[in-house]
């Protein structure tokens, strides 16, 4: 199940490895080369370039999996978890990612404006 407002970039892989439906929330960003094999993902998360969410993992809301970082298998990540760094350090971030929602909506607007010009998808009509 796929929510609204998600951005899936090139070479991103979203695979359902489990028996149940894979649930993806709204306004997530799957950057280039990211791999999503988990079970659930909430809203406003960001999987950065080549991030890897392993199977059976649940992601909450507003998480950030950093570049080339990975989660463990069968893990439940609370909201606002950040995985970053070369060793996969984690922390829960407080405070607001103030501009993130604004940037995301601008990103969506831009794509909606420019993709139809260059990506000739057949319209439903």
């Amino acid at each position: 199940m796929f929510g609204s407002g998600n951005i899936v970039e090139e070479n991103a892989v979203i695979i359902n490895r489990g028996p149940e439906a894979l649930i993806i929330g709204d306004n997530n960003v799957f950057e280039v080369g990211s791999v999503m094999e988990g079970m659930k993902i909430g809203n406003r998360n960001t999987l950065e370039v080549k991030a890897h969410v392993k199977s059976g993992t649940w992601l909450g809301d507003e998480c950030v999996i950093g570049t080339v970082c990975a989660t463990n298998e069968n893990e439940i990540l609370p909201d606002r978890t950040v995985i970053y760094g070369s060793r996969g350090d984690r922390r829960i971030f407080t405070g607001s990612r103030a501009n993130q929602a604004a940037v995301h909506s601008k990103h969506l607007e831009y794509l909606m404006q420019f993709l139809p010009k260059y990506n000739h998808a057949r319209s439903s009509s």
Binding site: V64, G66, V82, Y84, G85, D89, R90, R91, I92, F93, T94, G95, S96, R97, A98, N99, A101, A102
Partner: protein, 569 residues
């Protein structure tokens, strides 16, 4: 050793390599070797200027002239302590050869051969990319025989060239908006709460800007750090209230305590200042307040107590038992609340255990360095002064002066079987060059090496040929027999190698490289040429600005070909 290439569970694969040896760190004669070496003759370099870095002594007997002096006892004795320091852990066998270069004006006695690792190792065997070439001494210089000097200071984030005068006052940190995240040490960016996007939070009275980290999502609002304007944050007086930064260093309690202790003990120095045990520099070092004086204080106060009693010193600050911190540390439930060593060591003022008290630090400045030849003091590499430009004003690297030897063809090595190896020599210079090779046959183990073309020329480098596809087989007229292949500016030769033992196959090759070079007017040696120049000048002919003369460099290389498999029995 690239363990990445080996399949798991096996030893790392030994890769082939080509290394060049610099004259400086030649280990001494057999006295320092732990294995029994096969020394033929003890040799000493004619230039006793090459000193090992670790001993840090400049040889007072530097002789700028280049007389050939095969064996002198004193330089060899000097070499022994230098190399005794070197051979701490590494066993090696040494082999000395005295090499007289027939063609050159100078004689170089290159060093011996020993087991070296794949990378540039502490005994002076480097790949060509790490070496420099001093064109006034005409010798290879490794990074150890080059002296570093600072060219400029710059901030790695904003690339601002900090003038040298203000570096010290800013404590070697960037004085603009460059901060590093206390959590992950990546660069912070200045972010504003953007009212345009509709994210109007309660407009804080203190302002709109704060610092945010893009990697770990930390922002300075977590510690209540907000700014009104986005520039000049380091000098912002508000910063001082949040940080115990270096500007207020003198008011830190431990610095004040140290000053008091110094004042207390100083009067004892004045009384006993004539004691022979105390160096006279001690008083000056105390007055200058260096940390070294602390060491002297402890030893000298011990001496003072033997003869006199120092009045008891009561410190102004009592060090309390840090029970609060102790309790906090004992009751840690999650490691995310404690700081790591790396985070703590970035904040040396208070080195807190709690992540809540970590503060963003200003970014440390970096330097650009220039390297200088230790013997002749000419500059080898000098980067440009501007921090944004990565080029060099002077760039005397060995890659552009010496032939680059690469292994162009390699057959698998089996003990006692002849295998053929192709070595390609690439000439980076714009004039034709001549190379002659010799195998250093004193090495252990002694593999049989047959060089098919021990002496050959290489065509010069021409930029135009870079764009031509395919090899150009040129026959520049000179007859060279048995060269395997000749392309644009490289010559390949064949070697037949018979490994004598299994294991890594390494052979030493003495390469003698003769090239034409412009003779500089300044470093004239006593020879007939300068007088000819003077004569021709006086006859109102414009004296030739440059002359092309032959110069020769001889150096040892160690070439490894990987492992030799044992024969099938």
């Amino acid at each position: 050793m690239l363990a990445l290439n080996a399949p798991p569970g096996q030893a790392p694969v030994i890769q082939p390599f080509v290394h060049y040896r610099c004259l400086c760190s030649s280990p001494g004669p057999s006295a320092t070797a732990s294995r029994t070496p096969s020394t033929t003759r003890t040799a000493t370099p004619t230039r006793t200027t090459h000193r090992d870095d670790k001993d840090m002594d400049i040889d007072p007997t530097t002789t700028p002239t280049t007389t050939t002096d095969p064996t002198t006892s004193s330089p060899s004795a000097d070499l022994v302590p230098a190399t005794a320091a070197l051979t701490l852990h590494q066993q090696h066998h040494s082999h000395h050869q005295h090499e007289q270069d027939s063609a050159g004006e100078r004689s170089k006695t290159p060093a011996e051969v020993y087991d070296s690792g794949n990378n540039s190792d502490p005994h002076g065997s480097h790949s060509l990319s790490r070496l420099y070439f001093c064109d006034s001494c005409d010798e290879i210089r490794c990074p150890k025989c080059a002296q570093d000097e600072i060219v400029c200071f710059y901030c790695p984030n904003c690339l601002f060239d900090v003038p040298t005068a203000s570096v010290k006052s800013e404590k070697h940190k960037c004085s603009r908006n460059c901060f590093e995240c206390p959590i992950c040490q990546s660069t912070l960016s200045v972010v504003s709460e953007d009212p345009d996007a509709g994210m109007i939070t309660a407009v804080a009275a203190t302002g709109q800007y704060h610092l945010a980290c893009n990697v770990c999502q930390w922002n300075s609002q977590e510690i209540g750090m907000n700014f009104e304007k986005p520039t000049g944050l380091a000098g912002n007086p508000l910063m001082d209230t949040w940080t115990t930064d270096c500007k207020t260093e003198d008011s830190l309690p431990d610095v004040k305590e140290f000053d008091r202790l110094k004042d207390h003990l100083e009067k004892y120095f004045r009384v006993h200042s004539l004691k022979p045990g105390l160096p006279s520099s001690l008083l000056t070092s105390i007055q200058s307040g260096t940390l070294q004086s602390l060491r002297y204080v402890s030893t000298s106060s011990h001496k003072a107590q033997q003869s006199d009693d120092i009045a008891h010193y009561t410190p102004a600050v009592q060090v309390m038992e840090d029970t609060e911190n102790l309790e906090k540390l004992m009751s840690i439930t999650s490691l995310s609340e404690t700081t790591t060593m790396k985070q703590r060591l970035r904040q040396l003022q208070n080195q807190t255990y709690s992540t809540q008290r970590l503060q963003p630090q200003r970014i440390q400045l970096r330097i650009k360095r220039s390297r200088r030849c230790r013997s002749c003091r000419h500059i080898l590499v000098k980067p440009e002064q501007k921090s944004q430009s990565t080029g060099f004003k002077i760039n005397l690297i060995a890659l552009s002066q010496l032939p680059n030897i690469t292994i162009a063809g390699l057959q698998p090595m089996i003990v006692q079987t002849v295998s053929r190896v192709i070595l390609r020599f690439t000439n980076p210079r714009h004039e034709e060059a001549h190379v002659s090779l010799r195998y250093g046959d004193g090495a252990i183990p002694n593999h049989g090496v047959v060089i098919h073309s021990p002496s050959f020329t290489i065509s010069p480098f021409n930029v135009v040929w870079e764009y031509e596809v395919g090899t150009m087989v040129t026959a520049p007229g000179a007859v060279q027999e048995d060269v395997y292949e000749r392309t644009a500016n490289s010559t390949s030769i064949a070697l037949d190698i018979t490994p004598a033992a299994a294991g890594e196959v390494k052979i030493p090759l003495l390469v003698t490289f003769t090239f034409k070079s412009h003779k500089l007017q300044s470093d004239t040696e006593p020879s007939a040429l300068p007088t000819q120049l003077v004569v021709s000048g006086s006859k109102d002919h414009p004296p030739p600005e440059v002359e092309l003369i032959d110069k020769t460099v001889a150096f040892w290389t160690v070439i490894g070909f990987g492992e030799a498999l044992p024969t099938f029995s």
